[in-house]
Symmetry: C2
Subunit: 196 residues, 2 copies
């Protein structure tokens, strides 16, 4: 195989990931057979698996990148940006995630690999929650972890509604109710009673 | 085929549904092949499809029964009972639901069938929200539909965490934060700031 530059390798990696994401979204995880991946990526299986040794690795990388992007959004732009992003994610790609939940539960190795990589973003997420508690954006009578879990519940619920095509609440309503639940002293003590 | 009594027919129906639920939970929707359904139900395909003309009908009936049970819980026992129930649902069965979300989005007929049957419980659910708004259990500056959507988000998020084996928040934390978000004048205006 001819040597190719680092830059070219990085481009190839991106080409593979972008094609794989489209293929998973279109056919689901199980349905994304190697021949379909080859077609979507426009590379042979040999070339693809030179970068990612298995379909599982390809998927893991995509999932981990999503986590990293969500973490970046949260840390740099805050809760509203995060809520807006989840409500606009590709429903087809979200469905692949949902299918994978079954797999994650039934395959401890896969679960461990995903968790290990996703844990990389946890400290930054937690630090940002703590900062929000200090500035009064979030209430400070709960553990950062408790606040994180509740926000995750709501975001995952939104992702599920988005994936299934169910009607979504408005961004404003979600932010208002999240604010009432976890908002801090920066907000008036009495939750605003305006219609949203 | 010999005639059997109405009572015997009803028993058979329950036998079929219970076996099908176990089979879907174990193998997933796609994986629940007819031979597996026969084994789990302990009846021939002829007997099974005499009651439910397709695997899809079987699944729809199970899903609709779950909705009805959740609605009963909500109407008769309230939010806490509902939250507790969702957090104790069988993760394997929940995963089947999640797989189905993809299908629901891609199959408008299936979506319509599920929605039509699930809409049957909507008026009772809504009436109970309105009652909770009148008694001050829920805030009354939002549409009942908005409150329902937010509660659904949180419950679906819980179901997702439960299905994937992710750590769940405590029931008390969920109720405290839901209360802060949608609770009404029956609660003190200032959200309680006690640790949960």
């Amino acid at each position: 195989m001819p040597k190719i530059s680092e830059e070219r390798r990085a481009e190839r990696r991106e080409q593979i990931l972008a094609g794989a994401r489209r293929c998973f979204a279109e056919h689901g995880y199980e349905g994304a057979a190697v021949t379909r991946l080859e077609g979507a990526i426009d590379l042979s299986r040999g070339a693809i698996f030179n970068y990612f040794p298995s379909k599982e690795e390809l998927f893991t990388e995509l999932a981990v990148r999503d986590s990293a992007r969500m973490s970046d959004l949260w840390v740099n732009e805050g809760l509203e940006a995060l809520v807006r992003e989840v409500m606009e994610l590709d429903p087809a790609w979200l469905s692949v995630y949902l299918e994978l939940f079954r797999r994650v539960r039934n395959d401890p190795d896969f679960q461990k690999r995903i968790e290990t990589r996703q844990k990389a973003v946890a400290p930054a997420n937690r630090a940002r929650v703590e900062e929000a508690q200090r500035t009064g954006e979030f209430r400070n009578d709960l553990e950062p972890k408790q606040i994180g879990m509740f926000v995750n519940l709501v975001l995952n619920g939104l992702a599920l509604h988005r994936a299934s095509g169910e009607e979504l609440p408005s961004v404003e309503l979600v932010l208002e109710l999240l604010g009432a639940a976890i908002g801090g002293r920066a907000r008036p003590d009495t939750p605003s009673r305006t219609r949203v």
